[in-house]
Amino acid sequence: MTPSANSAVGAVLVTGTVFLALALCYRPLGDHMFRVYTGARHWRVERVVYRLVGVDADAEQRWPAYARALLAFSIVSVLALYALQRLQDHLFLSLGMPAVPPDLAWNTAVAFVTNTDWQAYSGESAMGHVVQTAGLAVQNFVSAAAGLSVAVALVRGFARARSDTLGNFWVDLVRGTIRILLPIAFAAAILLVAGGALQSFGGHHGWTTLAGGGQTLTPAGAASQEAIKDLGTNGGGVFNANSAHPWENPTAWTNLLQIFLLLVIATSLPRTFGRMVGDNRQGYVIVSVMAFLALISIGVTQTAELHAAGTVPQATAGAAPQWSGLAAEGREARFGVPDSALFASAATLTSTGSVDSAHDSYTAFGGGMLIFNMLLGEVAPGGAGSGLYGILVLAVITVFVAGLMVGRTPEYLGKKIGSREIKLASLYFLATPALVLLGTAVAMGTTAGRAGIGNGGAHGLSEVLYAFASAGNNNGSAFSGLSANTPFYNTALGLCMLFGRFLPMVLVLALAGSLARQAPVPVSAGTLPTHRPQFAGLLAGVTIVLVALTFLPALALGPLAEGLSR
C-alpha cells in the first residue's frame, strides 16, 4: 500500500470510528433524553432550583409564554455577561485583565448567549478566570439547554393533539442542564485532563526554556470549559488557538473525543423525537438524512485537503506521496491533515465554532465546503437542539413540496401542514439567508467592512461570507484572516447572531403551538409515508436544492472562483 493511499485509508478509518461511536450512543442517549423531557418526576435538586427561581414547575405554558420565558432568560443572560466583562477589572481571580471594551463585550455576550461563540477576542489575554468559568462557560451550558428546549417543544407540537400547551421552559432548561449536559460534560472533562488539558485556577508563572527564552503557564479551567464547549456545540475556546492549543486539545485521541462530543447530542436527538411521536422509524429517517449529508461533506473536505490543490498547498506538499497527510499550514502535527479536516467538518456541520486548525488556510474547495456546511442551516446534524428543529422545519417544507407534486393537502406525523404552518416554516427558512446575504452585502459595500479583509481577491469575499454565515447560523468558527474586532464587525455580527438565533426560535415555537392545537388526521391512502427511504431521499434533496438556490451566487464569487481560477 502506498503511503498516500495509507493516509486516505486512515481518514476513512477515523471517520468510521466516529460514526460507529455515534451509532452506539443513538439509542441509549436518545432514550435517556426522552425520559428527561417526558418524565413527570422532579429531582430533589431541581425542586430546590425551581423554588429559588420562583416558578411553578408543574404549570404548562402556551407557545407565547414559552417563547417569552426563553427570551427573558436570554436577555438577562446577555446583560449579565455584558456586565461581568465590563466590570472585569474589579473582579477577583481576573489575572489582572482590564475591563473588556463595550463593543467587544456586547459582541461576546451575544455570541455566547446565542450558542454562537464567535470570538473577536483572544482568550489568554482578555478574559480572566471569573469571566471564563462563571460567565462564558455558564452560557455554554444554558444556551445549549435552551436550544434543546425549543427542539423538544416543537416535537411536543407534533406529538400532542388538541393541546394549547408545549411544556414548561424552566423545567426543560433546568433538566437539560442538570440531567443531560452536566453528567456528560463532567465525564468528558476528566478524560480531557487525563489526556493533558489544563485544569488549574492559579496565577501565571514562567520558566526559562532550554534555549534561554521565557515561557509562561497560562492557567485556566480548560478541561471543564472544553468539555461543554464541544458537547453544547458552542465553540468558544479558553485560548485564542481554540482546540488547536495543546493545553485544550493535547493529543490525537482527545481530538477524536472532541469530534465525538460535537456530534453526539445532535445525532441522538432524532431517537428522542421518534420516541416522543411514537414511531422510532421517523427518528431513523431523520438521522439517516443527517448522516448521509454529513458523510458527503466530510468526504469532500478530506479529499480536497489530501489532494492539496492550489498554489501554496502544492508548494507545501511538494507532490511527494510519502508525505501525504502530514501537517500543512494551519494544521497541528499531532492531528495531521485528515483528522483536522474531520474536526473542521464536524464543527461546521454542527453549530460549533471549535477549530483545531486554521480554516482560512484550507484549500479553496475544502474551505468552501465548510462554508456550505454552515449554509445548510446546520442540520446535518446541527447544533444541540437547533439541528433537530432545523431539519424538522425542512421536513415540513418537504411534505409541502411533495404535496404540491401530487395535489394533496400535505401532512406530517398526522398533522396538516396548512397555510399557517407553511408560512412559519418558510419564514424560518428565509430568516438566516437574509441575514447572511444582507450582512455580507453591507460589509462589502462599506469601507469599514472592507477594511477588515486579510486576504486579497476572491478569498477576501470568502472571509466576509464565512463571517456572516457563521454569525447568522450561530456557528462561531471563522476564516480568522478577517480582522473582526472592530466596532463595525462587533456590532453587525452581534445583530446577525441575535436575530439568527431568536427569530427562528420564535417561529419554531409558533409552529409548534399551531401543530399542538390540531387534531390528528387519520392516515389515508393519500398520506405520504415519512418513515421510508423515499422520504429520506426527498428531504435530503430539498435541503440541498434550497441551499444551493439561495447561496450559489455568493459561493460562485468566493470559494468557487478561487478554486477554479487555477
Binding site: 433546568v174 526559562t208 493535547p250 508525505w323 494551519g330 499531532r334 492531528f335 476564516f479
Partner: protein
C-alpha cells in the same frame, strides 16, 4: 410577588435562574472537575510541566523555539516547526497565520511602506533555510531559487501577454524565468502597482523535494510541540555532528520519542521536540 405584572415576574425569574444556574454550572461544576483532576491527574491538570535538575524548563505539551538570541537555529538542538509571526511559541499569544492557499504575491518594502511576505514566499524562504541548515536542497514547486514565490503578473489581465513581471523579485534581481509566452520577464520595482495584471504562479521543474511539509509551515496554535518523523530524520545528522554522537544513536533517541498514532490510525506519527532535546542533553 403575586401583585407584580407578569412581565416583571418573568424577568425576575430569569434573573434568579441565571444566578442559580451560574452557581451550578459556573462554580460547582468547574470546582468539582478541578478537585477530581487535581487528585487523579495532578501532573496533567497543572500543565504537564517537565523539570531538569529540579527546575521547570517547559511543558511537554507546549513547543519551544530552539534558536539563539539572534533567531538563528542552535545546531545541537532539533528545531521545532515554524510559527506564524507574532505567535512564536509564546503562550500568551497563540494562533495561526490564517493565510489562504492563493496568498502568493508579496508586498515589497518601498520607501514609506513596510513590506509583507506572502504565505508562498514564507514557505519558499523556510524551505531554503532548512535546506541550507541540513545540507540538502531546499527547492520546492512554485519557489524561485532565491527563496521567494515564483509568481508572475501578466498583462493584460486576459488575452495574449504583452508584459510580464516577476512580482516577488525586487529589482535588480534576475527573474527566475527569462521569458513568458515570448515576452521578456521584468523584475519588480517596489512601490509600483501591478494589481491590474493576472496572477500566474509558475510551478517550475522541481521533482524531488527534500524538506518535509511540516518544516515549512506554521501550525494552528503557534505552540506545536511536535515535528514529523521525516523532519526529525532530516535533522538527525546535523544534531549528531554538533554533539559528537553517532547518527545511529540520535536516530535511536528519535525513535524512542516518537508518538505513534492512537489505535494505529488516529493522528500522525510525530516526535516531541522538547522531550527529544532534553534526552539529548542528558546523554
Amino acid at each position: 410577588m403575586k401583585h407584580l405584572p407578569s412581565s416583571i415576574r418573568r424577568h425576575l425569574a430569569a434573573v434568579r435562574a441565571v444566578l442559580v444556574l451560574t452557581v451550578v454550572t459556573g462554580v460547582v461544576y468547574p470546582l468539582a472537575v478541578t478537585g477530581v483532576a487535581q487528585v487523579l491527574f495532578r501532573h496533567q491538570a497543572n500543565g504537564s510541566l517537565v523539570e531538569r535538575n529540579g527546575r521547570v524548563v517547559g511543558s511537554s505539551l507546549v513547543g519551544q523555539s530552539f534558536t539563539d538570541s539572534s533567531g538563528a537555529p542552535i545546531p545541537r538542538y532539533f528545531q521545532s516547526r515554524p510559527a506564524a509571526a507574532g505567535h512564536a511559541y509564546d503562550t500568551t499569544a497563540t494562533g495561526a497565520s490564517n493565510l489562504g492557499p492563493e496568498d502568493v504575491v508579496d508586498t515589497l518594502p518601498a520607501p514609506g511602506r513596510t513590506g509583507r511576505r506572502s504565505l508562498l514566499t514564507q514557505v519558499c524562504a523556510r524551505s531554503l533555510a532548512v535546506g541550507r541548515l541540513e545540507g540538502v536542497s531546499g527547492a520546492r514547486p512554485f519557489c524561485a531559487p532565491g527563496g521567494v514565490g515564483a509568481v508572475l503578473r501578466v498583462f493584460p489581465a486576459a488575452g495574449a501577454a504583452t508584459r510580464a513581471v516577476s512580482v516577488n523579485q525586487a529589482c535588480p534581481a534576475t527573474p527566475f524565468v527569462p521569458r513568458y509566452q515570448g515576452v521578456r520577464v521584468e523584475c519588480a520595482r517596489p512601490g509600483e502597482d501591478y494589481s491590474a495584471g493576472r496572477t500566474v504562479p509558475v510551478r517550475g521543474a522541481v521533482t524531488r523535494v527534500a524538506v518535509p511539509p511540516d518544516a515549512v509551515t506554521a501550525g494552528a496554535s503557534g505552540l506545536d510541540p511536535h515535528i514529523s518523523v521525516a523532519y526529525a530524520v532530516l535533522q538527525a545528522p546535523r544534531v549528531a555532528r554538533a554533539r559528537g554522537l553517532t547518527v545511529e544513536r540520535v536516530l535511536d533517541l528519535v525513535r524512542r520519542h516518537t508518538v505513534s498514532p492512537w489505535l494505529g490510525y488516529v493522528g500522525r506519527p510525530v516526535v516531541n521536540v522538547l522531550e527529544l532535546n532534553l534526552a539529548l542533553d542528558g546523554e
